[in-house]
């Protein structure tokens, strides 16, 4: 008991930190150990909620209120969207795929309860989903949860690499640009950022593939480019780490570049404002070095917008980056979702939408916790 109490005290003192760490542990550990993904998600989420309610209970309760309705609404909406066209027989044929027979149709109708009204079907799906049974993919034949379990790590890895890369580039550049505000260094950096921002990422992907995977442009005997980084296939980390990173490099860069540019501009903008505040002038007058001022004093208060946008991006990327994955033939959630939409593989779409909705809410919670960590004012006032 005393150890539990000590743990609880630690959570109370630094709720944001401990519960975020705990949530990450549960997520990664669950993945490594092989827990069903839903379970580890739930565990992580519960931890996050605990942390958030210690920080500001009222706020959490309010957000929790919207949680279930949001997930229900989003999934119900998708469900309705998919099932709104075509009658029962059409749907049965869809599920059967090519080569469906009449007897097969009747069986499908029975099995999938296609003759029931839509809300009943939705509720049935929902109750199954909570148990972890998301149905069976009509096209691929596997259970949907398996499809998702195979595809999700790819997307998550891509997201993590891309976001880390984007931050690693954007934060130093943003700080530098704010430091040299409106002078030459800033102008160059900002122009680069604007240009990087303006390249649609699928265009960037194709160009990257051209120059880094396919050998570039050849005029006569000379060529500009290389075949250094491959642009297709996916190699799991467990199988071969080096190849894994080689294959993920181009996709991550393609995804990260536009993000980095955006983050850099946001950070630069906020920081220029912060650097004009009085407490910075005071620090300078006290003789604090420029570097310390930038990184230790000014960075934290300037990161709010960045954090918000970062959070929203991450939350959205949970659902996979459709275009990048397709272009680089990575078997992530994005490609699955895209093909499922086109092939009308309803259950796969539903399952992935559920994962996206849950992941989205989870990430938003984490972001709000991080707010409290960064800004003490939020801890007490926010409601």
């Amino acid at each position: 008991m005393p150890r539990v109490r000590a743990l609880w005290d630690a959570v109370r003192r630094k709720p944001g930190l401990t519960t975020t760490a705990g949530a990450l542990v549960v997520l990664v550990g669950g993945w490594l150990v092989g827990l069903p993904m839903l379970l580890s998600f739930l565990g992580a989420f519960a931890l996050v909620v605990v942390g958030a309610s210690v920080v500001n209970g009222r706020y959490v309760r309010r957000r929790l209120f919207i949680l279930v309705p949001t997930i229900v609404l989003v999934t119900a909406f998708t469900f309705y969207l998919e099932n709104s066209r075509g009658d029962t027989r059409d749907l049965a044929f869809q599920i059967l795929g090519p080569g469906g027979t009449e007897e097969g149709v009747d069986q499908i109708v029975q099995e999938f309860h296609l003759d029931e009204p839509m809300h009943t079907r939705y509720l049935l799906w929902l109750s199954d989903a909570v148990r972890g049974d998301l149905g069976r993919s009509a096209i691929q034949g596997q259970p949907v949860s398996e499809v998702i379990a195979n595809a999700a790590p790819v997307s998550l890895q891509l997201m993590i690499y891309a976001q880390v890369l984007a931050l690693a580039v954007a934060v130093p550049m943003g700080v530098y640009a704010a430091y040299k505000a409106n002078r030459r260094g800033d102008r160059i950096a900002s122009t680069f950022a604007l240009a990087a921002l303006s390249i649609p990422n699928f265009v960037l992907a194709v160009v990257l593939i051209l120059f880094f995977a396919l050998g570039g442009i050849r005029t006569g005997d000379t060529s500009i480019g290389s075949t250094w980084l491959p642009a297709a296939r996916y190699v799991p980390f467990g199988q071969d780490p080096v190849e894994h990173f080689r294959h993920m490099a181009l996709p991550a860069i393609a995804l990260a570049l536009g993000q980095a540019a955006g983050y850099m501009r946001i950070l630069r903008s906020d920081m220029i404002g912060t650097l004009q505040e009085n407490f910075i002038t005071t620090a300078k007058a006290k003789g604090v070095s420029d570097r310390r001022i930038l990184w230790a004093h000014a960075l934290r208060p300037s990161s709010f917008t960045l954090l918000t946008v970062f959070g929203v991006n991450t939350a959205t990327l949970v659902g996979g980056a459709l275009i990048i994955e397709t272009l680089f033939t990575l078997p992530g959630l994005g490609t699955q979702l895209g093909t499922a939409i086109f092939q009308k593989d309803f259950l796969v779409v539903q399952g992935i939408v559920l994962v996206i909705a849950v992941g989205f809410v989870l990430v938003n919670f984490l972001v709000d916790l991080l707010y409290a960590v960064l800004d003490p004012r939020v801890r007490h006032v926010r409601a």
């Binding site: 209120f65 279930v68 309705p69 099995e111 509720l123 049935l124 929902l126 109750s127 199954d128 909570v130």
Partner: protein
């Protein structure tokens, strides 16, 4: 001091332009309670008089001003303009009245729309009056009366108290159903029987939907009616729009002349100013333009909400002089709100001192300065810096701390927490306003200069 009472109000036979009785303004403040911004304040304004209202920030002066203008209307109390109680007026009549009652603000530049030219800004009151003079079609008037009623219905406490719990109940039922179904036993046809939990969930869901149905129907029907009316609106207003369109030129010709005249009266060169935007002017000039806008309808009363607080001292004098001139020329009566006593002393004929939503003391400025009766007034007076080497700064009495929160005002006399003369009585009993000499009124249990045994227990009322 917690000044309630009407002892200081003058009689009916005096030439009163504005009379404020028992004004109360309160706002809800989230989950903290209510902000008691103005609590039972009364005063009057005689024709041609300048009434000064002074007090610290947060004492309710600006709120009083806005309440008189009814933006938004006060919680309770009577405001009589030329004897007519403004609360009894409908929206249309109120618009007529507004031409007699105008207001100028503290930050002049931000009280003018940065995207409009001066000629438009100053002419706006004329435009409004002209537009209102054209009667709207009956359909539109119906719509105008319908909308607030519809909103009042939607916001009815019953609707609120019922809708949210029902929605919550629905989702609770859903969760129950899912939980039951998810943990239930597998049946032959593939569905699951979740037993009691699932059944309970279904019941709750259906019950809440039944409860929500009439409310939803109410919303849909009323919104539908609103939608129909709104769609028909443009059609119904076409004739009026056409009429207005036809008169445009004539109106603007007349308006231009009036705008020029009033700009000249405030000392702004119309030719230069008319086509410029507010940010091209200095603070003092912008304030003049603001005054011009207030004057163009030839009002009787102008409420000046700290009009010179944001200006340099030299400009302040100019604007004050201008106000005096215009008062004569236009036959105005002014309510002048300020926190700077030196300014008020110059311009006001009569002063009301406010503290935390209550009236402390009423009297003529010279009298108040020479013989303040209320402890708060005395401290305010002594806070005016006087440049005289002979005065010992340490002897000057200053007031400690900040005013208490208007959400939780002190009991009895609101000033007692900072008052050097406070006694037990001050915590229990709210002082009423009584006369201390001709035209000098105070709300205090222990006024200055009155021997303690002479303090009467019952208030002295003057007719």
């Amino acid at each position: 001091m917690a000044g309630s009472g009407t002892a200081h109000l003058r009689g009916e036979d005096d030439d009163l332009v504005l009379r404020v009785d028992h004004l109360v303004v309160e706002f809800p403040a989230g989950r903290f309670g209510t902000v008691h911004a103005v609590s039972d304040v009364s005063f009057d304004l005689a024709n041609g008089e300048t009434l000064g209202i002074v007090g610290e920030s947060g004492c309710g002066k600006s709120t009083t001003a806005k309440a008189i203008m009814r933006v938004p209307p006060p919680t309770s109390g009577h405001i009589r303009l030329d004897g007519v109680d403004l609360a009894t007026l409908g929206a249309e009549q109120m618009r007529d009245v507004r031409s007699r009652l105008q207001m100028i603000f503290q930050d002049a530049i931000s009280s003018l729309n940065p995207r409009r030219r001066i000629r438009d800004v100053v002419a706006e009151p004329l435009v409004i009056r002209w537009l209102e003079s054209h009667r709207r079609s009956p359909l539109i008037r119906l719509w105008e009366r319908y909308v607030p009623r519809m909103l009042r219905l939607w916001r009815h406490p019953f609707v609120r108290r019922v809708t949210v719990p029902l929605l919550v109940a629905f989702f609770v039922g859903l969760v129950l159903w899912i939980a039951g179904s998810a943990t239930g036993t597998e049946q032959a046809d593939g569905t699951r029987d979740g037993g009691i939990v699932q059944a309970a969930g279904t019941v709750v869901m259906i019950a809440s939907l039944i409860g929500l149905a009439p409310i939803a129907a109410m919303f849909v029907v009323t919104a539908g009616v609103w939608l129909v009316l709104t769609v028909l609106l443009p059609l119904a207003s076409l004739p009026r729009t056409y009429r207005i369109w036809r008169e445009r030129k004539k109106f603007w010709e007349g308006a231009e002349v009036q705008v020029r005249d009033v700009l000249e009266d405030v000392g702004i060169d119309a030719d230069i100013a008319m086509d410029r935007r507010p940010h091209e002017f200095s603070g003092g000039q912008a304030q003049r333009i603001s005054i011009a806008r207030a004057l163009i309808l030839d009002p009787k009363v102008i409420i000046c909400d700290e009009p010179v607080s944001a200006l340099d001292v030299s400009v302040q004098a100019q604007v004050l002089n201008l106000l005096e001139e215009l008062k004569e020329k236009y036959g105005l009566s002014l309510i002048f709100i300020a926190h700077d006593l030196a300014v008020v002393k110059n311009i006001a004929d009569r002063v009301v001192v406010m503290y935390l939503g209550k009236v402390c003391e009423v009297g003529q400025p010279d009298e108040l300065f020479a013989r303040p009766r209320h402890p708060y007034t005395e401290i305010l007076m002594s806070a005016i810096p006087v440049i005289d080497p002979a005065i010992d700064p340490r002897a000057a009495r200053t007031i400690a701390g900040e005013p208490p929160s208007p959400i939780f005002p002190p009991s009895g006399c609101r000033f007692r927490t900072r008052c050097p003369r406070a006694s037990e009585r001050c915590a229990e009993e709210e002082p009423q306003i009584r006369e201390m000499g001709s035209g000098h009124y105070v709300a205090c249990h222990h006024p200055i200069g009155v021997a303690e045994d002479q303090v009467a227990d019952t208030p002295v009322t003057v007719g």
